[in-house]
Symmetry: C2
Subunit: 206 residues, 2 copies
């Protein structure tokens, strides 16, 4: 295969052009398409054409929340590293990941939960709009569901894309039964890269 000559600044646009071509005549909702494309861009996996679930109006709701200065809470420092924090800051928002916090390790131990679950309890204390971007731990998503049911948390939106084999599918089914605005990768796939990509796609649309 021959190397394609291309200027650094044009690489991303060319990538999206190739994705667009390969999507062919797939009929996609105009608000969802940039998000689907960015998930494919970050994984080179066209499964994201089929597996992403969007609740009604979730993209508009996320954009509105971001404009209002919403914060983003993630369950991994990898997702935190990947989210465009400069752009979010322009709208007044911040990205939090509590996973490595000392109080989280303690809370998880004394409650017999995962640190991911404990970090959702901490996030419940944040003021203002919060978007949750869960790219790793199904236990975070399941704990979010409980906090929603108990009326202790009211997320502006949930990005539910944990990855893996233990309770991942179940945690996604659980959040999809809730009325919260959400984008979910059905099945086992997802990841902190996908969580970050979805956040960034919506940020770039805002």
């Amino acid at each position: 295969m021959k190397v394609e000559k291309i200027l650094p600044k044009d690489i991303e646009a060319r990538s999206f052009e190739i994705i667009e071509q390969e999507l062919g005549d797939a009929e996609l909702d105009a608000m969802q398409k940039p998000i689907i494309k960015r998930a494919i861009h970050t994984t080179a996996d066209f499964d994201y054409l089929e597996n992403l679930y969007f609740s009604d109006g979730v993209v508009e709701k996320m954009m509105k929340a971001i404009k209002n200065g919403a914060d983003i809470v993630t369950d991994t420092n990898m997702a935190r590293a990947g989210i465009n924090k400069k752009l979010l800051a322009k709208f007044g928002g911040e990205v939090y990941c509590f996973m490595a916090d000392e109080d989280i390790a303690k809370a998880a131990k004394s409650n017999g939960t995962t640190r991911a679950a404990a970090s959702m309890d901490k996030a419940a204390k944040l003021n203002g709009d919060v978007i949750f971007a869960i790219g790793n731990a199904p236990t975070a998503l399941m704990r979010l569901c409980e906090l929603i049911d108990e009326g202790r948390i009211n997320p502006a939106a949930v990005i539910g894309v944990p990855v893996g084999f233990v309770n991942v599918v179940q945690s996604k089914e659980m959040i999809m039964e809730r009325k919260v605005p959400q984008i979910v990768a059905r099945g086992r796939k997802g990841g902190s890269n996908v969580a970050a990509a979805i956040c960034n796609a919506v940020l770039y649309m805002t």
Copy 2:
């Protein structure tokens, strides 16, 4: 699907058990298997059973380099966030990502290259053993090939798992033509999560 009752500490082991089951009787090299499994664990994508290329003895060589205090250079802060830095530090190594450095932005601009390529030039100045973990930018991998050809760099190993659509396959073909110890995800797939997972798999084996 019913939620599986499981203690937080057992989730990872159970995940690997499920992966093991689904691999069935695939015959895998004993040194490669933990790495293949961890790549699948981080993506839930069994393509990594087929697409990972290992040069002869690369895992042993990486383990030896880590024991000797090798540093790891990555092309994304996401991969940097994902690598087990505490464990690497026990062996005396550090993880570097130069992508956000000011001198890199300047060098890239004045050379008309990507920041990823410029950060390989900076890495060439490091002393001691260096493992390169490229999870995003094919331009980093291509620049590495040039530096190897010019005798300006001699990586302890290269993890070549950039992801995407523009020159990704080409950059991987290029590195596989070089004699450097390497693990490469053939094709378009890869990512900073996969780069981190491969580093961690080898760290856990060391």
